[in-house]
């Protein structure tokens, strides 16, 4: 590919193929992890932001993002990590929320910036049967971004993406 004619749209499209390593049904773009793409001459700069700041998948995502851009034939790639504005689960697209649900992970409630208002309500809809008759079992789970609920209708546990 002639890298001199590459557009930011093409780069966004390539990044839309990069999956979240811990939730391989959604991309880093749908998750709101990729914040910006800029081209300056032959140099491409991708700005990303971590979901949870201790997320061990962060380095993997950074590497995968860089690889995806390099595969377009671009040699000069910089991936920058920023903490501001802080990543929020509100940034997860509606399409990705549905994919999370189908994956068996209840999507996080939207909080509009007021996390405390939802963090203490413990409402989660069972991703299998849609029941709201659920109880939180643990606000921590197998990864930093998940918590564990119990569905009284399915009589089985499920995980929710933790609102942040």
């Amino acid at each position: 590919m002639d890298t001199s004619t590459i557009t930011t749209e093409q780069i966004w499209q390539a990044l839309a193929q990069v999956k979240d390593p811990e939730i391989p049904v959604v991309s880093v773009v749908e998750m709101g992890i990729v914040r910006d793409v800029t081209i300056n001459g032959d140099a491409v700069r991708v700005t990303m932001t971590p979901t949870f700041s201790g997320c061990p998948a962060l380095d993997v995502m950074r590497r995968d993002i860089e690889t995806a851009v390099r595969q377009l034939g671009i040699k000069n790639v910089t991936v920058v990590t920023v903490l501001h504005p802080p990543w929020s689960t509100d940034w997860i697209s509606d399409e990705a929320r549905e994919k999370l649900r189908q994956f068996g992970l209840a999507p996080p409630q939207k909080h509009g910036g007021d996390l405390i208002s939802v963090a203490f309500l413990d409402v989660a809809e069972c991703p299998r049967c849609g029941s709201k008759n659920t109880t939180i079992k643990n606000s921590f789970g197998p990864t930093l971004c998940r918590m564990i609920y119990y569905c009284h209708d399915c009589q089985d546990a499920f995980e929710q993406f933790k609102p942040l």
């Binding site: 997320c55 802080p86 564990i148």
Partner: protein
Amino acid sequence: MNQTIQQVLIQKLLAMADDELILAHRNSEWIGHGPILEEDIALANIAQDELGHANIWYGLVESFTGVEPDEMVFFRDTADFLNVQLVELSRGDWAFTMLRQYLFDAYELLLLDKLQHSSYRPLAEACAKIRNEEIYHLRHTSNWIKRLGLGTEESNQRTQAALDELWPYAQQLFVLLPGESVLVEEKIVPDLAALHEDWLERVRPFLTAANLTIPTNQTPPTSRNEHTPHLTNLLSDMQKVARLNREAVW
């Protein structure tokens, strides 16, 4: 930023990073030993979050000094660490672990709330991010303190014993570093005396409601350069592998 302010800020960031690192390491000692599987997982999560936060603070130090986080973590000795003694004490029993984490979480959430308005922008931005994660920690540990304090006679006694031991140590979180007042004047960090009042206002009634008695002894260790033998033991464990071969690639 002038040289004096920068030097004190580096010490402050290092102190914050060391607090989180050492506490995370102590909590990680519970992995595989938690009272139930879910708590094992929860504490591992909390430890991982704190490590992530330490990494951010070390990263800010690096932006001034050029020294990489791994270098600071694995190749400094006991006397160079600036953590409070609270976080280095041996892990103790479950009541001790939960109470220590609760006292620290209550402090950290208040600190982060204030630091979101720091005039040092990278710190303010990082705090806005970390604060939201900390909400989950405080919720978890406060639930445990209630459960233990209001639980059986034994759980109450163990939590009271932990409080008697930890209370003076916790006060060290509010002792100023040498020269820290310049950071307060520059609105880089909040006034720790006011933060201490806020912390006491929250923690005291909470612990009392959990049927625990606030100890009268509250004389804290004075210097963050002074450590107990617990820290040396922890470091020899944590740094052992990294020091076996400095050139090893991870």
